[in-house]
Amino acid sequence: METVVQILVSGLTLGAMYAASTIGLSLVWGAMGVLNMAHGALLTIGGYASYSAVLHVGLPWYLGLPAAMIVSFVVGLLIYHIIFRFMYRHPAFETNVIIATVGLAIFLEQVTLLIYGAYPFLQPFSIEEGFFVSGVFVRFQNVVILVLAVATMLLVAALLSRTRMGRAIRATALNREAAQLMGVNVGRVFAQVMGIAGVVAAISGVMLSSITTLAPTMGYDPMLKAFIICVIAGLGNVPGALIAAFILGLFEAVVQFAVGVRFGFPALLLLVIIALIWRPYGVFGRRQVRRV
């Protein structure tokens, strides 16, 4: 029983964090059809922004998260205005963005390293206390992570399905030209998507660093997992990505417990290969359909 609870807690926490890292990536892919390789950097910036807001600015610890959301929102908008804005009309947009954002990710990582160094700071947005579930100690932080991740997903889903802005994002994803003909300023939609992706990335960056530590390279691993989840779910499919995130989180937790921690990631990759052979467009994906 203790084992099951332990696996569940760790699997759900992993799944929640993966889900939160995936939303932004999937949203950007769905709306613009591009992979934002600087997504991990947005996560990292969020984590450090929360740290600085509390340690350097002196805000109370619980304001670390909102501060991080604002900072990553602004950085997301900047990525649009500095890079995407000049590229999205070009036919080679998809490739150009990958190259440009890889460069940006390396640059941002070095800037973080310059400012903060490689010291593994602890995330102040963290609750050490906890409670026991059939003999297993569960930190409140794990509960916070799960609740935050689920709330974020629901909010993003509601935003996409119920608001005028969300409808325009979905329409742009389905047919950019038709959306323009309805009066949608596609550039503005892309900026909005990057802003939302930034906010969501900050949430996952703060959550991730709250159970590990801060590091300039901390964004790479969740971004890689987000890719895996996107591939399994079908790129651009947000609801599918959420289900896949929790399944993969639990799967990784089981493998880590049963086989060994270092086998968790290889097992995930093996799963991707199998999934892609079985369903080349993703388990929940459909052929050539992008959607958010």
Binding site: R164, R170, N175, L181, M182, G183, V184, N185, V186
Partner: protein
């Protein structure tokens, strides 16, 4: 005669430096229905794309309500009241019928009137109301076309540019679409219609232009077209 609502003046347009249209000039009067016919691949769609701003003119000018469109963005042109209903519908396939229509009312001005406009569209196209919650990709070809026109109406635009409304439809669906176009005309809407074939549009159109190899080779009214069977025969093989 007063200035037309939409004026195209000595327009050259095309893609990647290749001219598709040469020296195109015509006007669409307020409340009028102008039709451009011609064989496929001769620039009809290019002309509509130039008016709606999807491509920019290489030479010449397009004026709307007397003011040049210049190099405005597509969404700015839509905001001024020019609404392009593209060939092949381009509906938002994974969205519901209602969400598709609401996208037509995306801009702030039509958004405030969305409920009234939606009623108007549903009154004219009751089939869309029946299918309100259905995902657009499950509609039939005729229903998709109705949705595309309905979505265009939701914009509340001053002029509708409709590209090949009868393309690929069964005869009965073509009847419905032309019934709809007739009611739009009777309601005083300004329309610019592009068709490959003159047979369905001739009687509705105030003036017909024949586009061949990127240039107007003939223009006149429907009755004039009737008197010159050789024109259709030469250019359209009809």
């Amino acid at each position: 005669m007063s200035t037309p609502l939409l004026e195209v003046d000595s327009l050259d347009a095309g893609y990647h430096g290749q001219r598709v249209l040469r020296d195109i000039s015509f006007g669409v009067p307020d409340g009028g229905l102008i039709t451009i016919i011609g064989p496929n691949g001769h620039g009809k769609t290019t002309l509509l794309r130039a008016v709606s701003g999807l491509i920019h003119p290489m030479a010449g000018e397009i004026r709307f309500e007397g003011k040049a469109l210049g190099r405005s963005r597509v969404d700015q042109i839509v905001a001024r009241g020019i609404v392009h209903i593209p060939q092949g519908d381009m509906i938002f396939s994974e969205m519901t019928v209602r969400d598709n229509l609401m996208m037509g009312a995306y801009l702030p001005v039509p958004y405030r009137r969305a409920d009234a406009n939606l009623k108007e569209v549903y009154a004219l196209l009751p089939r869309l109301e029946e299918r309100e919650g259905q995902i657009a990709s499950t509609l039939s070809g005729g229903e998709r076309r109705m949705l595309a026109v309905g979505r265009g109406m939701m914009t509340g635009g001053r002029i509708l540019l409709i590209d090949e409304p009868s393309l690929g439809l069964a005869p009965i669906a073509i009847d419905t679409i032309y019934g709809l176009i007739q009611s739009l005309k009777e309601a005083g809407r300004t329309l610019l219609l592009v068709e490959e074939n003159a047979s369905r549009v001739a009687d509705l159109a105030d003036r017909i232009y024949l586009l061949d190899h990127g240039q107007f080779v003939w223009q006149g009214t429907a009755s004039e077209l009737d008197q010159h069977d050789e024109i259709l025969e030469t250019y359209l093989g009809a």
